[in-house]
């Protein structure tokens, strides 16, 4: 029963990401990418979730209230999305089915590798210290029906919010899902979210491989090699290690989805036919990433500047640099908030006083 429920939540994740992402990446009568839509939708989902969560959390309202608000919002987004984008979705599904049929050996290989990688991360045991915070935070929130008020390590009540983690509301979303679906926190985090992340990462690799190689044999070779590199480039610090062993953590998402999708947007910018609203998508990705892990505050601005600044100079288009800098504002803001907290400028209490 738990496994069945986990599979349903996994599928629901992708439906929701598609619904959220369609507002940014789907344009009628213009070619659009399902992978890009789902990935942008993933970040839009978490960005909006943070916007809803922070006021609820800082005014000491229960997790169950957040769950109700979020459920209503998700249903609304889904309904609007189906109404607005139902036809493009149907056309895309037909296009994907045709593509799979026409290139069945390529897709058979891709699906085999993706399923193997997903099953591997879903069924392996790995001990990590950080799970003691992230996963225990989910169980603690669900048990206490409050948001980040109790210390996940011990269960004790905290006098003030731990601001190092509190703006990264990614794990609060897991708490909401667990409360609504009654799925155990360990299954939601280490099975459902791990699988979600692994499938998304593989989709991005396929997208990149096909971007570089029209010949599908070449594309498949490149795709296989990216997964091989992820299996081999292992030390406790590499993004590949986070992907393969700590898949569900926010850091893993930053290192393996955010950085890659920003690179994909750069690839699309460099190509002559880049999609409309590219910088809006970049903004959504940056904002969503800032709510997933505080690691984003350091890594994302650096990558955006490293990719987009030289391009703006080379093409003599300063507006590209300005747009890119606007996109990283969420990270800059979060960095300031965090630095001021660490330097002891303020504290946010977990009880009104």
């Amino acid at each position: 029963m738990i496994i069945l429920k986990a599979i349903c939540v996994l599928m629901l994740n992708f439906i929701m990401y598609m619904a959220f992402g369609s507002f940014f990446a789907v344009r009628k009568n213009i070619k659009w990418s399902a992978t890009l839509t789902i990935t942008v939708g993933f970040f839009a989902y978490y960005a909006l979730f943070a916007v809803i969560t922070l006021p609820v959390m800082f005014t000491y309202r229960p997790l169950s209230l957040l769950g109700k608000i979020w459920m209503v919002l998700c249903i609304s987004v889904l309904v609007c999305s189906v109404v607005l984008f139902g036809k493009p979705w149907a056309a895309k599904i037909a296009e994907i089915i045709n593509d799979i049929w026409d290139n069945r050996y390529f897709w058979l290989g891709v699906c085999t590798v993706t399923v193997l990688a997903t099953v591997a991360v879903a069924i392996t045991y790995s001990f990590t210290l950080d799970a003691a915070y992230y996963v225990a935070n989910v169980t603690t929130n669900v048990d206490t029906n409050m948001i980040n008020v109790y210390d996940p390590f011990t269960g004790n009540w905290q006098d003030h919010f731990e601001l190092r983690y509190v703006f990264a509301t990614y794990s609060v979303n897991d708490s909401v899902i667990c409360q609504i679906t009654k799925l155990p926190a360990l299954v939601q985090t280490k099975v459902v979210m791990s699988s979600t992340v692994m499938i998304m990462v593989n989709s991005l690799y396929v997208m990149i491989s096909r971007y570089f190689h029209r010949d599908l044999r070449r594309a498949f070779l490149m795709y296989i090699l990216t997964m091989l590199v992820n299996c081999m480039f292992i030390s406790i610090y590499t993004a590949s290690n986070f992907l393969m062993t700590r898949t569900y953590e926010g850091k893993s998402i930053v290192g393996n989805i955010s950085l890659i999708i920003i690179f994909v947007l750069y690839l699309l910018l460099v190509s002559d036919s880049h999609p409309k609203g590219l910088f809006i998508m970049l903004f959504v990705i940056c904002m969503g990433t800032a709510t997933i892990s505080s690691t984003a505050n350091m890594v994302i601005p650096t990558e955006v500047v490293a990719l987009f600044a030289p391009y703006a100079f080379m093409k003599k288009k300063p507006q590209i640099l300005v747009k890119a800098l606007i996109c990283i504002l969420p990270e800059i803001l979060m960095m300031l908030v965090y630095v001021m907290y660490v330097k002891g400028y303020y504290a946010i209490y977990t009880y009104p006083r």
């Binding site: 011990t154 099975v191 590199v229 290192g255």
Partner: protein, 296 residues
Amino acid sequence: MGVNVFENGIGYLTKCLSLYNSGTGYFVMYLFAVLYILIKGERREKEIFLPGTAVLLVTVFNPVVPLILDKIFDVNNEYYRLFWIAPVVIIVPYVITVIVCEMPKGRARSLVAFLLALALLFGGNFVYAKGFDLAENIYKIPDELIEISEMIHEDSPNEYSKAYFEYEYNMEIRQYDPKMLLTVDREDYLYAMNYSYTDEMISDEERPVNRILALLVRNQRVEEEAFVDSLEKTGTEYIVLTAGHPQIPFIRRAGLYEIGRIGTKIIFKYDLSDPSVFELVDYSNVEHRFSYRRLK
């Protein structure tokens, strides 16, 4: 990460990179891939891969940058995450694909493909090199820990129980069971795993947890009375130890008794003289307003 900017100065970056790579050759392959594109790449490939790499070389991979950043943030343990920006997992496979596929079919191509495959396989550390550790259950924690949790809750008359666990179980139990309160938090445990306690720390009345950790982790000498007092002050009712732990005779003498054994673990109980029942803070009637304090 265990490398300090202040101590290592300009050498921090090299040490950080060395730890990051941990003997793998993938970063070298990344540099070779960039070099390949610089020499043989087409205009579009150069436009995609080279500008970003150049910026990374003068920023992230510049030994002076961590020194500057460290003045603003504590980057000691997190600087390595900036290395993730280098697209190793994209550019290395891309260049290998191009090299292999653009060579004419024949022995030379097979040999090059074979050598590159060897470089990828032997230039890294396989993620499952130490074995594929299959989870015992869907919760991905040991079965033993689940049984221990059940045993403690069956024994305890209260909804919440407070316990001391050994390191790994201490870090895992609350991921499964939020009704298990813990005597020791993560930072205290990490300290105890790495450092001994001074006499001053052991006698610190404000930190009874020091005595518990000094005895049960560091095997340092602690008075029986002081240990019992620490259990009382921290409200610890249960202690879970591996059978064969050197302090088992001590804790039996201190008045703890065994309530059961599961697998390799023994669960001990201490009867608190004044047991208090843990209750959640009541938020039902609070004013729902933002409350913060300016400290500076």
